[in-house]
C-alpha cells in the first residue's frame, strides 16, 4: 500500500516535468515495454511447430494480467507500419510466461509466423474468454481440429501436472502427422501422465470424423456421454460436436476459430458512413468490416467472428443481415460490423 502511494506521488511529481507527455513516453526511449497507452510485449523466443505454425513466447509489460488456461488475447502487430489487431489463443500453461501458437493463414498470422523474431514488439490486451476449465471436472473429452489445439494445449499443460489422476481423452483432428501441432509433446505428456489418452485423427488418411451417434466419436471414446465436452476448431467442426452433445441432453463448451458464412442472396449492398458523408459498396461475400478495411478505412474490431463485440458501431437507419444466419436486423442500435453486411443499405454513425 505504502509503496503504491509512494509510486503515485513520484509519478505525479515527474509528470509535472514531462507535461504534456506522460513520464512513460520518455521512459520508452530506454525501455521498449514502457507505454502510456498500451500494454506492450516483446517476443522472447520463437519455436517452429510445423511448416506453417510457430509458437511465439513473449514478455509482457505493465497492464498484462496472467491468463487462465484456454483464454485468448487480442494482439496487435505492425503490418507495413499499420497497427492491426487479431485474437490469438494462448498456448502456454497457466502461471507460465505467455505464448501464442499461430498458424499462418491470414496476413497478421503470416506476419507473426514468418517475421516475428526475438525483440519484435507486440501490443497486448488482457486475456479473456469463457473457454476455460471447470473447477472440478470429473472426466473430460476434448475434441479439437487443427489450430483449435492451442487453447486446449494450455489446458492440458495446466491440468495434467496439477491432477495427474485426471481422466482426459483428446480427439485431435489434423490433416497429417506433419501438420499436427504439438504432436510429440502430447505423446510425451501422455507418457508422463497415463490419465491422458490422445487419439490422433489424420483426415488425409482417415477422412472426416463421423459425428453421428454410431460414428467415430463413440468408437474412439465409448463413454463420451458421461464426460465434460470441450471442442475447439473451425465453426463447422465445433457445431457438429455441439449437435452431438445436445443429442444426449448435454452440451459442449466451444471455441470457434472462424465463422461459417452464407453469401448474400441479394448480392451487393451499400453502407453509408454518416460522419464522413461517404457511401461504400459491399459485395455479397464481405462483411461491413472487411469492405471498410479494403477501402482503407479503420473501424474498431476484435475477434472478427462475432464473439468479442469490440466492433460495435451505431446503426441509425437501414438494416443489416447476419453473415452466419442471414437474420435481418433493422432496429436502430449497435451492430457488429464483423459479422454483418448491409441488407441492402445501412447508415452507420461513424
Amino acid at each position: 500500500m505504502k509503496k503504491n502511494r509512494a509510486r503515485k506521488v513520484l509519478k505525479f511529481a515527474v509528470s509535472q516535468l514531462t507535461y504534456p507527455r506522460d513520464p512513460k513516453d520518455f521512459l520508452q526511449v530506454f525501455h521498449n515495454l514502457a507505454s502510456a497507452r498500451y500494454t506492450r510485449g516483446v517476443v522472447s523466443r520463437v519455436v517452429r511447430e510445423t511448416s506453417d505454425t510457430a509458437t511465439i513466447y513473449f514478455r509482457a509489460g505493465d497492464g498484462w494480467t496472467p491468463h487462465v488456461a484456454g483464454q485468448w488475447a487480442r494482439i496487435g502487430v505492425s503490418l507495413n507500419g499499420k497497427r492491426v489487431w487479431r485474437p490469438f489463443s494462448i498456448s502456454a500453461a497457466e502461471g507460465h510466461d505467455p505464448s501464442i501458437t499461430v498458424k499462418a493463414n491470414g496476413e497478421v498470422s503470416q506476419n507473426l509466423v514468418h517475421e516475428a523474431t526475438p525483440g519484435t514488439l507486440l501490443y497486448l490486451e488482457e486475456p479473456s474468454g469463457q473457454f476455460v476449465l471447470d473447477e472440478t471436472p470429473a472426466s473430460i473429452l476434448f475434441i479439437v481440429a487443427g489450430s483449435g489445439i492451442t487453447p486446449v494445449m494450455s489446458m492440458l499443460r495446466t491440468l495434467m501436472p496439477r491432477r495427474p489422476d485426471h481422466d482426459v481423452v483428446l480427439i485431435y483432428s489434423s490433416r497429417s502427422p506433419q501438420d499436427c501441432i504439438f504432436h510429440d509433446e502430447i505423446l510425451e505428456l501422455a507418457d508422463q501422465f497415463p490419465g491422458l489418452k490422445p487419439k490422433f485423427w489424420f483426415s488425409r488418411e482417415d477422412g472426416r470424423i463421423d459425428f453421428s451417434e454410431t460414428g467415430d466419436v463413440p468408437r474412439l471414446c465409448p463413454d463420451y456421454q458421461d464426460r465434460e465436452m470441450y471442442s475447439s476448431g473451425p465453426d463447422a467442426f465445433v457445431s457438429r460436436v455441439q449437435e452431438l452433445a445436445v443429442l444426449h441432453g448435454g452440451e459442449s463448451r466451444v471455441e470457434r476459430f472462424d465463422v461459417t458464412r452464407r453469401t448474400s442472396a441479394s448480392g451487393n449492398g451499400e453502407v453509408y458512413f454518416s460522419r464522413s458523408d461517404e457511401t461504400l459498396e459491399v459485395t455479397g461475400v464481405d462483411s461491413i468490416l472487411e469492405a471498410a478495411e479494403n477501402s482503407g478505412r479503420q473501424l474498431p474490431h476484435g475477434c472478427r467472428i462475432g464473439i468479442c463485440r469490440s466492433c460495435l458501431v451505431p446503426m441509425t437507419d437501414g438494416q443489416v443481415s447476419d453473415i452466419r444466419t442471414g437474420d435481418v436486423t433493422q432496429d436502430p442500435g449497435l451492430v457488429q460490423t464483423c459479422i454483418t453486411r448491409p441488407a441492402p443499405w445501412v447508415a452507420l454513425d461513424i
Binding site: Q16, L17, P20, F26, V29, G81, K82, V84
Partner: protein, 371 residues
C-alpha cells in the same frame, strides 16, 4: 459547378485595380485535369506509405525526447556556461521538433493511418501553450479549408495585423511592425489567445460558454506549461545553485522556438506571390479549383534538408496545403511533381530562400501599416 477565376485578383494587382481579370483563366476542363493529377499524387503516396514511414516518425520522436531529456538535465547544472549553452540548444531544438515536425503534423492526422494511439491526432497534446483541440479547430478546419480567403481565413493577419490590401486600413495598423515584432518572441501565447477566438465571441459568432471553456483550457495549459519550465525546473536546478541561469535558459529556449516558428509560419502565406482570394472567388468551388487556390495561396522555402526538417517540412507549404494529411517526410519527394504540374498550367509556384521570404513577409507588414 467549377468556378472560374475571372473574379480572382492577385495581390500585387490590387493596389492598381481590384477588377483585373485573372491571368490564369483556366478552363473547367483544365481544372478537372488538375484535380485528377493532384489526386493521383495523393493516391500514390497513400499506397506507398508503410513501414519505412512508421520507422521515420518513430525515430524522430525518439530523437526529440532524447534531446529534451539532455536539455533538461543540462539545465540542472546551467550555472556552468557550456552546460547552459548545451541545455538551451537541446531544449530549443527539442521544442522546435516537438511543435513542428512532430506536433503540427501529428495533429493534422498525417500519422493516423498507423492506427497507433500513441501517435494520433485525437490523442496528441503538444508542448505549446495553445491546447491541441482549439488549434486543430482554428488551423485544420478554418485555415486549411478557407486558405487565404480574406474575411474567412482568420490566419490572414491573425486579427492583429493587416496583411492584405483588401483589409480596410485602420489607424491601429500603423502599429503593424510593432505588433509583429512583439508577436514573434511571444508566438505561442499569441496563438493560444488567438485560438480562443475572442473576436468571434464579440461578433456574436461564438457562444459565451464555448469562449469561456476555451479560455479556461488555455489558462490551465498556460499554468502547467509555465510551472514546468519556469518554476519547477528552476526549483530543481536551485539544488546546484543554477536556479537563475535555469530560468534564463528556459526563457531563451522558448523564445528561440517562438522566433523560429513565427519566421517559418510567416513565410507560408505572406511572401510576394502568395495570393489572397475573395469570398466570391470560392463560390461553388470545385476540388480542382480548391487545389488551385491552395497552390496559389502558399509559398515554399528553399533550403537544405536540415532546414526542411527543422521547419517541420512546412517549407513545403504548397505541398502541405495541397495534401495536409500526407506524412511530412514525403513532401520533398512529391515537390518536383507538384512543381511540374504547376508549370504545366502556368500556376505560380512561389518559392525562395529563407532570408528572402522572411524579408518579403516583413516588407508586407511595413507596407500595409499605411493605407
Amino acid at each position: 459547378m467549377a468556378a472560374t477565376l475571372e473574379e480572382h485578383t492577385p495581390t500585387f494587382e490590387i493596389e492598381r485595380a481590384r477588377r483585373t481579370p485573372n491571368p490564369l483563366n483556366l478552363t473547367e476542363e483544365q481544372l478537372i485535369e488538375l484535380e485528377v493529377k493532384f489526386d493521383a499524387i495523393r493516391d500514390d503516396i497513400t499506397a506507398k506509405r508503410g513501414a519505412s514511414d512508421a520507422r521515420y516518425i518513430g525515430r524522430v520522436i525518439k530523437a526529440q525526447r532524447s534531446l529534451e531529456m539532455v536539455g533538461r538535465a543540462a539545465m540542472l547544472f546551467s550555472k556552468h556556461k557550456p552546460l547552459w549553452l548545451l541545455g538551451v540548444g537541446c531544449l530549443a531544438g527539442g521544442k522546435i521538433l516537438e511543435n513542428m515536425e512532430i506536433g503540427h503534423n501529428v495533429l493534422h492526422g498525417q500519422w493516423d493511418w498507423m492506427n497507433d494511439m500513441e501517435i494520433h491526432s485525437t490523442t496528441w497534446e503538444w508542448d505549446f501553450v495553445a491546447p491541441s483541440s482549439g488549434w486543430q479547430r482554428t488551423h485544420n478546419e478554418t485555415h486549411h479549408t478557407w486558405t487565404n480567403v480574406v474575411g474567412k481565413d482568420r490566419d490572414v493577419g491573425y486579427n492583429v495585423l493587416r496583411m492584405d490590401p483588401s483589409q480596410p486600413w485602420r489607424p491601429i495598423n500603423l502599429l503593424n511592425p510593432v505588433i509583429n515584432a512583439g508577436l514573434a518572441p511571444m508566438f505561442e501565447w499569441g496563438i493560444a489567445i488567438y485560438d480562443i477566438e475572442f473576436d468571434e465571441y464579440l461578433a456574436g459568432a461564438k457562444s459565451k460558454e464555448a469562449t469561456l471553456r476555451d479560455f479556461k483550457r488555455v489558462m490551465k495549459k498556460f499554468g502547467r506549461q509555465s510551472a514546468k519550465d519556469f518554476v519547477l525546473s528552476p526549483l530543481l536546478a536551485s539544488l546546484t545553485g543554477s536556479a537563475k541561469s535555469s530560468i534564463k535558459g528556459y526563457v531563451a529556449a522558448n523564445v528561440i522556438r517562438n522566433l523560429w516558428a513565427h519566421a517559418v509560419i510567416f513565410c507560408g502565406h505572406f511572401p510576394d506571390g502568395a495570393e489572397t482570394f475573395t469570398e466570391e472567388d470560392i463560390e461553388n468551388e470545385s476540388r480542382g479549383h480548391w487545389y488551385l487556390r491552395q497552390a496559389m495561396g502558399s509559398a515554399n522555402i528553399d533550403g537544405s534538408k536540415a532546414m526542411h526538417f527543422m521547419s517541420g517540412n512546412l517549407s513545403f507549404q504548397i505541398e502541405h496545403h495541397l495534401f495536409p494529411d500526407l506524412p511530412s517526410n514525403r513532401m520533398a519527394e512529391i515537390a518536383p511533381r507538384v512543381k511540374a504540374i504547376c508549370e504545366e498550367y502556368g500556376i505560380p509556384y512561389t518559392s525562395g530562400p529563407l532570408p528572402k521570404q522572411v524579408l518579403e513577409a516583413w516588407r508586407k507588414v511595413f507596407r500595409l501599416a499605411l493605407p
